[in-house]
């Protein structure tokens, strides 16, 4: 098992904020809009350095998406910022018509995704957003795993023409990713032969922890980071799956509509095999600390180990 270490923990939203700040200095066409969550989204520095390119829209997310779509007419590259729930479910029709169907170059940047938003509870803990966004034709969906990858993804999407949904979160998590980021390109974290673990977002670090536990059990896990859920890196996924012949997917999202669902479709069309899902299964979240919630809803290394054991058993 390849060794991964970290020297600090940081929130992925800070990766977004720092990436946006650098974009503000490098690309005069980048503009940012925020719906009264500038601090939460770490957009303050961009606002401070570029007051003329930052637009506070107040608590009016539908209007924010509509304005962002309009600003592309004239060559601007708008980044919208609010929580994942208000970035997707609340404004689905606006994104559908004015951004996706209209093919506008808007970057929908969503923080506080999933259960790790914590104490605010289920009203704010969206677990359906990846599904909502990936269903839209032409939408690119990216869910980075740590500060470094979120920062790299933020910068990469500015140079990519087309609508993007970028999903990140609130808690401080290990900063370990040093691999280069390329939209749509999976990252092989550990080569293995017994099972393929495909993980996204906060579950990538958990997958690495699981890999170490599995190694002690004599199981050699291949671990792949899927940061871009759409378009899916079919080549990398199929290559790994055909080698190991069983799969575990891991994500901080609903089982239906998430990464596991995308991989399942790809596998069933190409090379059917056992797949186990580490994801939330058809239920809402609740209040609690991020680690309590991840444990209760089975989104941690221990759950991944159990899923791997089951997938390998089913293979026999």
């Amino acid at each position: 098992m390849k060794k991964y270490t970290y020297s600090e923990k940081k929130d992925t939203r800070s990766g977004f904020g720092d990436g946006l700040t650098e974009l503000g200095r490098e690309n005069p066409n980048v503009v940012a809009l925020c719906a009264d969550l500038t601090g939460s989204l770490k957009m303050n520095q961009f606002e401070k350095e570029n007051p003329d390119r930052f637009f506070q829209v107040g608590i009016a997310e539908a209007n924010m998406i509509g304005i962002a779509a309009g600003m592309t007419i004239g060559g601007k590259i708008p980044f919208t910022g609010t929580f994942a729930n208000f970035s997707t479910g609340r404004v689905y029709d606006q994104i559908r018509q004015a951004v996706a169907y209209s093919g506008k170059n808007v970057k929908i940047c969503a923080s506080h995704a999933g259960l790790t938003l914590g104490e605010d509870g289920a009203t704010h803990q969206i677990l359906e957003d990846i599904g909502l966004m990936k269903m839209l034709p032409g939408m690119t969906v990216i869910n980075p795993c740590d500060y470094n990858q979120t920062k790299a993804a933020t910068k990469a999407i500015a140079n990519f023409e087309g609508p993007v949904y970028l999903r990140f979160g609130r808690p401080s998590v290990p900063v370990f990713m040093n691999e280069p980021f390329e939209i749509g390109k999976a990252i092989l974290l550990n080569e293995g032969s017994d099972v393929s673990i495909f993980a996204t977002g906060h579950l990538v670090w958990e997958a690495i922890q699981a890999g170490e536990i599995l190694e002690k059990m004599g199981i050699n896990a291949e671990i792949i980071n899927i940061h871009t859920i759409k378009p899916l890196d079919a080549e990398a996924i199929l290559k790994s799956a055909k080698k190991t012949n069983c799969i575990v997917t891991a994500e901080e999202h609903m089982k239906h509509g998430g990464l596991g669902d995308s991989i399942s479709q790809l596998i069933s069309e190409n090379c059917p095999m056992p797949i186990e899902y580490v994801a939330v299964n058809d239920t809402f979240g609740e209040s609690g600390t991020p680690s309590q919630l991840m444990e209760k809803y089975g989104l941690n290394a221990e759950s991944i180990v159990k899923a791997v054991t089951k997938a390998i058993q089913r293979k026999k």
């Binding site: 829209v57 107040g58 009016a60 539908a62 209007n63 304005i67 007419i73 004239g74 018509q97 004015a98």
Partner: protein, 281 residues
Amino acid sequence: MPSISELEKIASQVRRDIVRMVHAVNSGHPGGSLGCTDYVVALYFEIMKHQPNPFDMNAKNQDVFFLSNGHISPLFYSVLARSGYFNIAELATFRKLNSRLQGHPTTHEGLEGVRIASGSLGQGLSNAIGAALSKKLNNDSSIVYSLHGDGELQEGQIWEAAMFAAHHKVDNLIACVDYNKQQIDGSTDQVMSLGDLEAKWYAFGWEVHHTNGNDMQNIIETVNSVKKQLGKGKPQIIIMRTEMGQGVDFMMGSHKWHGVAPNDEQLASALKQLEETLGDY
């Protein structure tokens, strides 16, 4: 610059296009299209500075028009074709399979002149504000126009946008409400009262103007006077009184022709009332 009577002749031809287009596919929205014909003709043939060909999505140094009430697409398509964005022969494909002239306007099929999809209501004011902000950042002094149905004002997003435009001093935008007091299920008073529209917009920080949307002279005078108010820190809106179905006697004075196409006999009657001035497509 065309004279008032020349603009009225264009409007007559556009109205013929509208009733013929919706008749051909037995679907579409003639009522609001006919009501707003004079305003949109005035914009594209007299008021707006714009270049149909080659079409520039970014509208650099051009005035821009946003149709928020996308269901009056027959009017939009006819005016775009008649002002040179695409060939008038293409009007015959309206709402048919594989057409660029979808039921509601879209950029998806690459139709020149359309800059964003509309149809799901209440979104066009936000889009227009975005384009207006872009123009300011680009030091582009041209103007953004938007048109809205009055029933559409029942959508909450309109008022989010209204609040934003005043707060951020979006003063390079002229919005217009088609105040025909009709919507699908009946009059706006029956369905959901708009109340005192002037007071509402005023309270949201807009400067409010009025015009008779079926009087070409009045439209041009109003817009020219509103243009003088631009750049002074306030968004501008025109409450435009129109008659749904204007120009076709049996379609006027009711909500019934909001989304209903005329039959053969009704088409013949409508065309008798509308002079063919530029040649039918």
